[in-house]
């Protein structure tokens, strides 16, 4: 037996979530390698948000299990939450607090040493310096996204979960954010799980894509291999094939 097999950063085993009669996530299993960037894709209602919720222990699975860095999130979440973080445009930071105050609070929650120094570094890296002392609620959408990313990076997480990290950003800022994420992953060997509807972004950032539909993983492959297998030009076309149910035919034709 090979005892040196690295532990997956995230592992789901027959992970299932029912809301009453509705099946949001249907016995999905996957492993995400340390240091990888994985895209979690699917149309609305595919089960991405619920899957992310279970990975972060915000949602309790109906059955199955999910572990992060070897810890079962249903039982031992607090042993690993300080090594994770999350960013989503659907979760805000307190509006009346300045960016610096918000980052100070989260630095305290995550036990960051030298939090002032860390904030200065993030302000420089994410270009927050011009508005770091302004209330978070008075920022533009793009500035808010950068601040949310700064919050997600405050503890230099090993596991970074991003939900639409470049939504509402202009192309220049979005490109800049993607570049920052690429550098962060490379420097920290961080594991990134990315839910996005921006297929260009997924193609650029992700080593691998988990395609979800009606609570199941319907495909699992590197973006370029997926594109080749479906005989398409880009991931957006693959996404449309899968979402519209024409995926199987295209895949067979390409094969």
């Amino acid at each position: 037996m090979n005892v040196n097999v690295p532990l997956p950063a995230i592992e789901a085993d027959r992970l299932t979530k029912h809301y009453g009669e509705a099946v949001a996530v249907d016995a999905i299993s996957f492993q995400i390698a340390t240091g990888s960037v994985t895209g979690l894709l699917g149309g609305n209602g595919a089960g991405k948000t619920t899957t992310i919720g279970m990975i972060m222990s915000l949602v309790a699975p109906t059955s199955g299990r999910v572990s992060v860095l070897g810890f079962d999130m249903a039982r031992d979440a607090y042993r690993v939450l300080h090594r994770m973080n999350f960013e989503s445009p659907y979760v805000d930071l307190p509006h009346r607090l300045s960016v610096r105050q918000n980052l100070t609070v989260f630095g305290g929650l995550y036990g960051v040493k030298n939090v002032a120094e860390r904030i200065a570094r993030l302000a420089a890296d994410l270009d927050l310096k011009d508005f770091v002392d302004r209330p978070s609620g008075k920022l533009s959408a793009g500035q808010k996204t950068r601040v949310a990313l700064a919050k997600a990076l405050i503890n230099e997480p090993d596991i970074l979960i991003l939900d639409e990290p470049t939504a509402s950003l202009d192309p220049d800022t979005a490109d800049w954010i993607r570049g920052h994420l690429e550098r962060y992953r490379a420097n920290k060997n961080a594991t990134i799980l990315l839910a996005s509807h921006n297929m260009g972004e997924v193609e650029r950032l992700c080593d691998r894509v988990l395609m979800m539909k009606r609570g199941k993983i319907v495909d699992d492959e590197a973006p370029e291999k997926l594109i080749a297998r479906y005989g398409r030009q880009n991931l957006e076309e693959v996404f449309l094939d899968i979402a519209r149910g024409t995926g199987a035919a295209k895949k067979e034709a390409a094969e």
Binding site: K17, Y19, A24, T49, T50, G53, M56, S57, L58, V59, A60, Y78, R79, L81, H82, R83, M84, N85, F86, S88, Y90, V91, D92, L93, P94, H95, R96, L97, S98, Q101, T104, V105, F106, G107, G108, L109, Y110, G111, V112, K113, N114, R118, P135, K151, N155, E156, D158
Partner: protein, 271 residues
Amino acid sequence: MSVASSPAFSFSRIFAMVMRHWYLLRSSWPRLLELIYWPLVQMVMWGFLQSFMAKQTGTLATAAGTFLAAVLLWDILFRGQLGFSFSFLEEMWSRNLANLMISPLRPIEFVLSMITMSVIRLVIGVVPVTILAMFFFGFNFWGLGFALGAFFANLLLTSWAIGLLCAGLVLRNGLGAEGLTWSIMFLFLPLTCVYYPVATLPVWLQWISWALPPTAVFEGMRALVLENVFRADLMLWAFALNVVWITLAGWGFLKLMHSSKRIGSLMSVGE
């Protein structure tokens, strides 16, 4: 990496949460004004009523002597619960709850930070009003001495138990349950006999009344103000009840939190 391992309990995390709410209070004068406005209005209204009734003769004049103490103690109970619940609601209103729930902040630390904020809000709201009561009506609330400490502690414990249950219900059911936070304490107003003795209630209702810790506090206050007697037995009864209430509320909060994870309401906070 700049993050140390995460201890099972951390005063730093509680401090961070207290700072979060302190920054908010400091930045918003309407929030500060709101803390003092209602206790002040209550004190002025009941103060004048007490002054008027004190000029009458007989039982009314005697009863009037307790009104200002009653209203100030009631405000400790009411404001204590609101102070606790507001800290929680602020997270819902700002859609920040998911950020906190995925952080290393433990439920007990979250609760202790809300308790701390409840005391801070109470001090800001009630202490100036007690000083004004002394100035305007010659009523020295602090003259209740050691007994005041016992009253204060017991009322705060009850307010936190109620606040904890309200927080759990809002967590579980979303902001649709927010109205409870504002109104639940008014159920206690008649039942805990703030302004009249327990004996005023029908016998069957007295049983319910004595199961509520504040009832013993308000009875104790009347014994002190009217008969100059400190009823330690009542304070011990209130404390014992508070232990039961806090335990039940903590259990209820954890159950409601687990339930919110089961139904997925933490992913859709605010709705």
